[in-house]
């Protein structure tokens, strides 16, 4: 299969959907001639023009609300928030308006909008440009939340998100933009709500999100060399969450590790853990463990930044520990 980057995959999804459906349009800061802070929409202005590739002022609340209003009227806006950290400015329009309108209005309205935003640490951008905030969105009924880890998922999920009649928060990871991976030719859709096993294994279920999937795959190689076969489950969407696939894996392995980059306390790892305990307690041979960002704002220094985010070696160590192997050692996740 042809290989393209995660960024190219997102571009393909946007371009295909914009060509397919003229109700789809983009709005966000510097998405036109600049091409977006991460270059995702480079070239779109030329193809689709100013009306559909709409550069906005620095008005996150206003533009997310405008997207909700346009969606209510039957358009299908895709808003880019430059860094997910800034979505805190728009949360009212997203979570109290877009997410709730349909329900408050008694099931009448449809709000088919997508909010795209990159998150994650690792670029030295410090506390206000490096957060992982999926936990905020997951908590508001009415929103769907997608977090692709591969180019194929990025393309397929984004196309599905754009066609979905509900507000979808589509979270990209900055460190993934330039990673390549196979993406099928032609129409490629990934339904919201279906997890994927990124690597099968019998010894332990590792539920990994977004960029953690990549680290998990690396860790799996190291562990495989020691005879440990971990199964990597990528939920791909957090709402809806594919509990069945997760539980099925847990049933087979009996051991669970959950890895995400967001701060540990109140992160989605807790929710996934809780569901497994509630529905799959009897499958468990050991306590579930979470590997997550430490409960600090992301520090600027490269050295510190690396320390607050789970790394490949942390996954390896935790997996060993959970399997009672040597070398588990001290943990780095508080």
């Amino acid at each position: 299969m042809r290989e393209i980057t995660y960024k190219q995959a997102i571009q393909e999804a946007l371009r295909e959907e914009m060509r397919r459906d003229e109700r789809v349009f983009l709005l966000g800061e510097d998405i036109g001639v600049y091409g977006g802070a991460f270059g995702v929409t480079l070239g779109f202005l030329e193809e689709f023009g100013k009306a559909r590739v709409r550069d906005t002022p620095i008005s996150e609340l206003g533009i997310v609300g405008a997207a909700a209003g346009a969606a209510l009227m039957g358009m299908r806006p895709v808003v880019e928030i430059m860094f997910i950290d800034f979505s805190t400015l728009a949360l009212d329009q997203l979570a109290n308006q877009a997410a709730k309108m349909r329900f408050m209005f008694g099931g009448k309205a449809r709000v088919p909008m997508v909010l795209r935003a990159p998150q994650g640490a690792g670029t030295g951008a410090a506390a206000q440009h490096s957060q992982s905030l999926e936990a905020l969105f997951v908590h508001f009924p009415g929103l769907k939340v997608a977090m692709p880890s591969t180019p194929a998922d990025a393309k397929g999920l984004l196309k599905a998100a754009i066609r979905d009649d509900n507000p979808v928060v589509f979270i990209e990871h900055k460190l993934l933009y330039n990673r390549k991976g196979p993406v099928p030719d032609g129409e490629h859709l990934v339904p919201l709500g279906r997890a994927e096993i990124k690597r099968p294994g019998r010894d332990l279920t590792l539920i990994a999100i977004s960029n953690m999937v990549i680290k998990a795959l690396e860790a799996a190689e190291i562990l495989a060399a020691e005879g440990i076969e971990i199964e990597i489950v990528d939920p791909r969407t957090l709402v809806p969450l594919d509990e069945a696939t997760v539980l099925d894996s847990v049933r087979r392995t009996g051991r669970v590790l959950i890895a995400h980059e967001a701060c540990r306390t109140g992160g989605v790892g807790a929710e996934i853990l809780a569901r497994i305990v509630e529905e799959g307690f009897d499958y468990l041979d050991a306590p579930i463990r979470r590997l997550a960002g430490r409960d600090f704002p992301i520090p600027y220094s490269k050295v510190l930044e690396r320390q607050v985010i789970p790394q490949v070696e942390d996954i390896v160590r935790e997996a060993r520990r959970l399997l009672g192997r040597a070398g588990g050692g001290k943990r780095n996740d508080q």
Binding site: S59, G62, G65, A66, L72, M75, P77, K108, P112
Partner: protein, 319 residues
């Protein structure tokens, strides 16, 4: 101004309908038959009526927490409104929304919202949709003086201005945001002056004069429909009742209330119509009788409607 007597009578009827509806709601609240809170529109009828009568049926409005008047002026079904207030399955929102969230999408009411100012970005987005589709429609966005101090106002008016969107921002300055007096919450005498911050026209009218509101709205709507972009119309008015159920009216005087009540928008239009020989006491009583009957019918419809259930509510959450 070339309004026919019929048109004027239509406005009069709308205002009386709003008044009657609100008085009945007030009464039902007192009796404990409506739970939660409501924000009554009594005293402000000329604003919604003046603006909506200048709109076409295919135009849109965006409403706010004090939304019953907007809703009625845009032609809503009183039965479904009252049923909603009583939390019934036949209500506009199947009992899920209540007073602060009535939407009537069929008639172009994009919905009320309980978060002050939050309808402004949504209305702006609706106007964006219209503009992108090159339709000749407009959105009238209602909000209070209090909302004009929220960031949502600022960001939205600027967006509409730079994109020349077909929206008219109708600020209902009823002098207070809950207890916050506009005279203390703004350091400018007229809220409409804020139009100049966005390069859009700002006009101030007597919000108790439905004809003045209608005229100013007509002008703003024409501008918007012709592609010249948004405007900010401030209507000076007053709410007669407390802010909401729990208001003890500590922040204003009886005299002030009485002075504004003496400027009743309904009486004012009535006097005008009487001068024109368009309305006499009999005709006025007939209108009054009609709308009271409509309202009673609505109450009965609501009362005998079933309560909702959560069954199937997932489909009301996700499409």
């Amino acid at each position: 101004m070339s309004l026919t007597i019929e048109a004027l009578l239509g406005m009069y009827r709308t205002m009386v309908r709003i008044r009657a509806f609100e008085e009945r709601v007030d009464d039902l609240m007192m009796k404990g038959l409506i739970h939660g809170t409501t924000h009554l529109y009594i005293g402000m009828e000329a604003v919604a009526t003046g603006v909506c009568s200048a709109l076409k049926p295919e135009d849109y409005i965006a409403s706010n927490h004090r939304g019953h008047g907007h809703c009625i002026a845009k032609g809503a079904d009183l039965n479904r409104m009252m049923a909603e207030l009583l939390g019934k399955a036949t209500g506009y929102c199947k009992g899920k929304g209540g007073s602060m969230h009535i939407a009537d999408l069929e008639r172009g009411n994009l919905g009320a919202t309980g978060i002050v100012g939050s309808g402004i970005p949504v209305a702006t987005g609706a106007a964006l949709a219209i503009s992108m589709r090159k339709e000749a429609k407009v959105v009238a966005c209602f909000f209070g003086d209090g909302a004009a101090n929220n960031g949502a106002f600022h960001e939205s008016l600027n967006l509409a201005a730079i994109w020349k969107l077909p929206v008219i921002y109708v600020c209902e300055n009823n002098q207070y945001a809950m207890s916050g007096p506009a005279r203390e919450m703004f350091a400018i005498p007229r809220i409409a002056e804020r139009g100049s911050a966005y390069g859009i026209p700002g006009a101030t009218v007597d919000g108790n004069d439905v004809l003045a509101v209608h005229a100013a709205a007509t002008e703003s709507i024409r501008r918007a429909r012709d592609g010249h972009g948004p405007s900010l119309l401030t209507c000076e008015t007053y709410r007669w009742k407390g802010h909401s159920r729990s208001d003890a009216n500590r922040y204003r005087s009886k005299e002030e209330i009485a002075a504004w009540q003496a400027r009743c928008p309904i009486q004012r239009l009535r006097r005008y119509l009487e001068e024109l020989d368009g309305l006499d006491a009999r005709a006025a009583a007939a209108i009054e009788g009609d709308v009271r009957a409509e309202v009673e019918e609505a109450v009965q419809f609501a009362e005998k409607s079933p309560v909702p259930s959560l069954e199937g509510a997932e489909a009301d959450l996700y499409a």
